[in-house]
Symmetry: C2
Subunit: 828 residues, 2 copies
């Protein structure tokens, strides 16, 4: 993972092209680093004053060609004080990916993760002074595995020196290389190149890159022994050659012409100091100026701030001020950055997709318009999440806006249908209780409510909040008013190795509290088809029927939509709802068309017989799949999981691959037609956001869905470990589904306001990060046995959960579980 | 602007580096295009069968070096049937930007816009068959002005052939070049390169690019006359050379080894057909599958759909099926894509900023965290929009969510303060009328309202809607309930050359309807400081005082916030509110602390004396600057424009440079402290969105604000033209401020439901696009006299408005005004 040391600079050196002089510049920088006094005094005009400056180490991770010609040899010859090392040497003078596989398969120590670990280990042995890592060829020249070096080294995210090209065409290759590095989130500290008096590359690049805050240095020039341009020789074969080259280096280091390598070193030292200062101040600056979401600021000390310098794959690079090692520590993003991550942070294909759409369109307004990313994404969503039922896609910006759109669609559909002035005798007879005198008393006019489940969460805008029961989230929101009824759901728990379905608190909805069923495995729970014939299904149907009769007929409430989070209610506390129950609930609501047709005055019925084929029935069913959809829980959609389709569905979070906000609300044709009943503008869905269907988000979404297609989809948590957790004394129950692992702690004060999880999460972080032995290399398959595995988890009341991505590797998931088990055991 | 022709393909040919064989491949493609029969029959094995295939034209826009050696010459020699042309020839064999300025300044016809226009004109003369445009050097080799060719040619956005590099390092340069092209929104149709048997570049790139949907072709190989790799000679000097080269081409065209140029041509033809089919189907696919924002679908026919193929600067490239010329027409984005655009579409610096943040972080969760883009953007906003008053920045996703956050902040601040059980005798005495018996009757419990202006709009989520008066937007939204009082604002109008301030409908707020003042110029209106001493200011204060007394004391209403859109209420109908009035309103509200302290039961007063220094006073003042801020109206902020600061402010739209959704809610320390009064989680602002402070948006915002710093800020509309508009019979009044020009039409049915503007906008589009004479080149300074100037405007009831960007050029603004004037005149 990314590195930064107080005592020393580490730079990676990339070339804009092959043969641009990377080794010459590395040698010059090595000499200058050693020669330039740290105390600010004037450097002696010699190449041998290496006691004055920094200790210098040089690494060539991969080299091809005869060992005698290796770049390391050049360093040894001209900068003998430098500790030079080559990790892998291949004999063939070709690209490493060709050389490495020349004898057949790729050696184990040349796999990407292994190589990065070894480079990381070398870095940790050279944290004082200056360390230079010279890549091979150009920025995208392949490493041994074929992965481009710019991609391969990305987990380390080292400050970068780009060696520009001074030949004809060098402006282009240098700019393109700069862009490829930037696209991977590297900071290019400086560009160095030979003089380019004929082509003017140095002048051009100096101006161009200055606008982007990058300094360009031109090293070398006409000296006593060399003309403009590249140095006299590279592989010194004679004493004369050697002397000419020595004189050349003396000129370059001290800047006989052009910039001096010493000035480069001074600049790099300055940037290094600034980089550390910026990193160290960032937490305080955020603490003073930012207003964090969902955060009680008085509970966050300035030292509690997690400063994220960068991220890669499943890991943040987090500032760790107390570390005696790197100032940056890899920390597992254990909540998938608020459940958004799907293919890992900083995926280069998503970055390029973002750049492509930004470069092709920027944003283009969407009403009445078509653009390729939006249309293709709509088609893709209709063919997956919306398969078999959805006809339209409405875009917005986040889960909350997506749900506001869904609610407007659903409620208005009910209003328009049930405002029809029709009724029949059967309905009137069935609803006779509703006609008792005075039964209208207390019922506020014109309230259309939603039917939902306790623990639901749909977002933080007022409409989305109103669709949720009163809770700590809404307690201090003046304009909140829960507009609905939320039933107690039966939930699934793995407790001491056994799977229970239970109702915690019967309330008015259930005949009794307690266990409803016990199943053998978690998988059994999600085989909804097999369970449909069970007695429990019949029980569910009876309970729902009774509840609806009570609410509508006795209590005279009027509903406009059934709103569900399929499978798991996330923000409400990782509540795993029995999928069989959700299935039955949807089915019963759709059957009871008679009930929902009630109007003010009551006893009216919708003309249900006239509803067109495929039209919604009973109530429009809204699936809030913002959290649960798109492989988060191992299913593409709630429809796939429950075996029943909604009329409206909302997806977000994973949709845009964990990069930028984007939501999509899918709707059936029946819902859509509610808003196309006339040509009146006022009858349309008058909702929109400026960036509706922004091409950048749509393009990223297409790329994400492509990548997810090749990611594994089944549960990623080791069953034995999960079961072990369920036996711990500190643990009430456990659940694991898809990428989510949730542990409910034994507590007396459950819910969001509980601080149980917060204390465990804190303990987990401190226990799991023994700074003294932290390896500071990315915990990949290659070094999965490293002792420390810091996890950043987000506490949720009395629930501790870990959320991985569909692409997270098995070893990483296992280490996360082990770390959690260790802490829970210690906390007992 | 972008081009696409049914009858012919146009391709631009870029090189991964200089000297990769662009001219060889161009020649081979030219020969193959001519030789490959269009009827699908087998091509004759000769180079002279050019009657069978396509007519071929070749353009070298810029060439350097002796004319005799020019690439055009090579084409002429080996493909004499091709119409070859060079636009600009510079003698020096160096980069065009060096050669072009060798004699001093840049020739006028070598300026970027002129060059692009000339290339566009050449393309329009070669719309049948195959047209090849060969660039010079690599993708980023500078054109004559110094602009990289990839940037220079972007307005044309031609389908691209990338010539890869087969030498050592060529994998890197080819991949980097591919990324630079992709970053600019180009579609790379194919990559061609020479065989690379030693380095394996062709094999590597074939696999790598296949994953990205790009085909790689390897042309050439061992034939009777040439070894693997590049061709035998390039500049044929002898008959023998010429013959060798001819044989080489014969082999390449027909694929003696490797892929044949004919197979490339077939593939390009196929892509061309697919491209047209995709473009032509896109509108229908959107029409059938997308649900557009703010759109009555029944009013949009499938042929009305605006298919946007790409965008650049101020222009969309729009599909024009009826055009006898290009299938793509440049259309001025006259509503700045829902008011988001600031620096033009597809700005390469914004695309790179997006890619950098995506490559460095992806998204990282924000609660309790710090990352550089978010912290730097917060600092930047506090130092500009929030200068002198704001202390905190809360991020969300769009204007609507930003306003929901603002409302929660403001209302909760009022609730917490005015829930204090304090009162004083003076307040009780002043509010005696409120104590009349029965005066509580009908007042619903616990309603905290907002005070605002008629015509306000704050977004489409329920909370934001509730802060607006009932309107067509909310008429069919069941959960909407306006919670506030909205005063009639005095508005500004340029009518027949004179500037009036008037109140259209006095209602209960004003003593009388009609004109309140007349000023000489629009600029005078915005000199708020000078006008503060005017009698009108005193009048405003009296009116506001009286209104507040009436609302609070007589009507017993309780307010929690004053919510204003500074200067212009956009969505409400481009209502230009007198800034002096907004200034006075804020001041009076802040003075009347006594009034707002009223509680249920009434007559209580807040302990106003105890409010800390710098605390909000009276009511928290919220500026909704989503539309009006960040130079949209020529001001960085409402504070700058009105001379009075809010307590909470929301910015969005321009903030993220017209690319991705991002909003920021700024708050004073006084507001922030409302939520930090305890360590209780429940007392925090429990609001957040998954992508809060997403790094991609923040990084783009930083880059946008940098770019805006160098953009001009003053009014961009020609005063004489604006005044002329105000005299037209069809026009009621006109206003121009910053980037906005609004025309109110004379109508009997004003407001959003009016269809007046819609009909004008339609007429404008058809009148302004005489397809037969459309130049299909970007209307830049160079060809501003071109006859047609299509404008895409968004109708707004009886208002027609044009919205430019702070960076839109003067000629473009003038052409837009002229087009509007012409249509308005004709419509009279």
């Amino acid at each position: 993972m990314a590195h930064l040391f107080r005592g020393g600079r580490v730079h990676q050196i990339f070339g804009a092209d092959t043969d641009v002089g990377k080794t010459i510049f590395s040698t010059a920088l090595a000499l200058a680093s050693a020669a330039c006094p740290l105390d600010g005094s004037v450097p002696a005009r010699t190449l041998d004053a290496h006691a004055a400056g920094e200790a210098v180490a040089y690494l060539k991770p991969v080299s091809t060609g005869a060992a005698s010609e290796a770049d390391e040899g050049h360093l040894r010859a001209f900068a003998p004080h430098v500790e030079a090392h080559t990790l892998m040497q291949f004999r063939d003078p070709v690209s490493p990916h060709v050389a490495a596989t020349h004898d057949g398969s790729l050696p184990a120590d040349a796999q990407d993760a292994a190589l990065v670990s070894r480079i990381g280990a070398w870095i940790h042995a050279h944290t004082q002074g200056a360390a230079l890592i010279e890549t091979a060829g150009g920025v995208h020249s392949p490493g041994p595995s074929g992965t481009s070096q710019a991609d391969l080294l990305r987990p380390l995210r080292l400050p970068t020196i780009l060696i520009g090209s001074s030949v004809l065409g060098g402006i282009s290759t240098t700019r393109a290389a700069y862009e490829s590095l930037t696209l991977r989130g590297y900071d290019v500290d400086a560009v160095l190149l030979f003089p380019s008096p004929i082509y003017g590359n140095d002048t051009y690049l100096r101006d161009y890159l200055a606008e982007r805050g990058v300094r360009v240095f031109t090293l070398g020039g006409p000296s006593s022994t060399s003309a403009w341009g590249p140095p006299p020789v590279r592989a010194a074969t004679t004493a004369q050659d050697y002397e000419a080259m020595r004189r050349y280096y003396l000129g370059v280091v001290h800047g006989e012409q052009g910039d001096s390598a010493i000035s480069v070193v001074r600049y790099l030292r300055e940037l290094h100091t600034q980089r550390i200062a910026a990193l160290e101040s960032l937490g305080k600056r955020a603490h003073e100026q930012c207003w964090w979401p969902f955060t009680q600021h008085t509970r966050v000390g300035v030292d509690d701030v997690m400063t994220i310098d960068s991220a890669h794959g499943d890991f943040f690079a987090v500032h760790t001020p107390a570390s005696p090692h790197s100032l940056l520590t890899p920390v597992f993003d254990g909540s998938a950055s608020w459940w958004t991550q799907a293919v890992g942070h900083a995926h280069p294909r998503l970055a390029l997709a973002a750049a492509y759409a930004a470069g092709r369109y920027g944003h283009v307004m969407f009403p009445g318009a078509a653009h390729e990313p939006a249309v293709r994404l709509a088609e893709r969503l209709l063919a997956t999440v919306g398969r078999g039922w959805a006809a339209r896609v409405f875009y917005s910006d986040d889960g909350s806006t997506g749900m506001e759109v869904a609610l407007k669609m659903a409620l208005q559909s009910s209003v328009r249908r049930y405002a029809d002035d029709t009724s029949d005798a059967a309905t009137r007879a069935r609803t006779v209780r509703g006609r008792q005198p005075g039964s209208l008393g207390g019922r506020p006019p014109r309230v259309w409510e939603v039917l939902g489940l306790q623990g639901s969460y749909h977002g933080d805008t007022i409409g989305a909040m109103d669709a949720c029961e009163p809770s700590v989230f809404s307690e201090h929101v003046e304009w909140y008013q829960g507009r609905g009824y939320w039933m107690t759901p039966p939930t699934v728990h793995l407790r001491a190795g056994r799977v229970y379905i239970e109702v915690a608190d019967a309330g008015r909805d259930w005949p009794a509290s307690g266990a409803l069923a016990q199943l053998d495995t978690i998988d059994d729970v999600y085989d909804v088809e097999a369970r449909r014939a069970s007695p429990l299904a019949a029980h569910y149907r009876r309970v729902v029927h009774a509840m609806l009769e009570r609410l509508v007929v006795e209590e005279r409430r009027r509903f406009g939509a059934l709103v569900l989070e399929p499978l798991v209610m996330g923000a409400g506390g990782m509540i795993f709802v029995d999928p069989l129950f959700q299935r039955c609930l949807v089915e019963v609501v759709r059957e009871r068309t008679d009930l929902f047709a009630l109007r003010d005055p009551p006893l009216r019925d919708a003309a249900t017989g006239t509803a067109p084929r495929g039209a919604w029935s009973g109530l429009p069913v809204v699936f809030d799949e913002v959290f649960s959809g798109l492989q988060r829980l191992g299913y593409a959609s709630g429809t796939e999981a429950l075996g029943v389709a909604p009329d409206v569905s909302v997806v977000a979070k994973i949709l845009s691959g964990g990069t930028v906000p984007l939501a999509a609300t899918l709707a059936s044709d029946s819902i859509f037609r509610t808003f196309t009943s006339s040509t009146e503008k006022a009858h349309a869905l008058l909702h929109g956001h400026s960036y509706t269907a922004h091409p950048v988000g749509c393009q990223i979404a297409l790329e994400t869905l492509d990548l997810l297609d090749t990611a594994r989809r089944t549960g990623i948590w080791d069953r034995a470990r999960v079961e072990r957790l369920s036996h711990l004394p500190r643990v009430d129950s456990v659940m694991a589904l898809g990428t989510v692992l949730a542990v409910a702690l034994r507590t007396e004060r459950a819910g969001y306001a509980s601080e149980e999880a917060e204390s465990i999460v804190r303990r987990l972080r401190t226990q799991a990060v023994p700074a003294a032995c932290h390896p500071n290399v990315p915990p990949t398959a290659a070094d999965v046995d490293a002792p420390a595995f810091p996890l950043h988890l987000r506490p949720l009341g009395h629930i501790v959960y870990i959320m991985a991505s569909p692409t997270t590797s098995e070893p990483v998931c296992q280490r996360a579980l082990d770390a959690l088990e260790q802490v829970l055991q210690a906390a007992t």
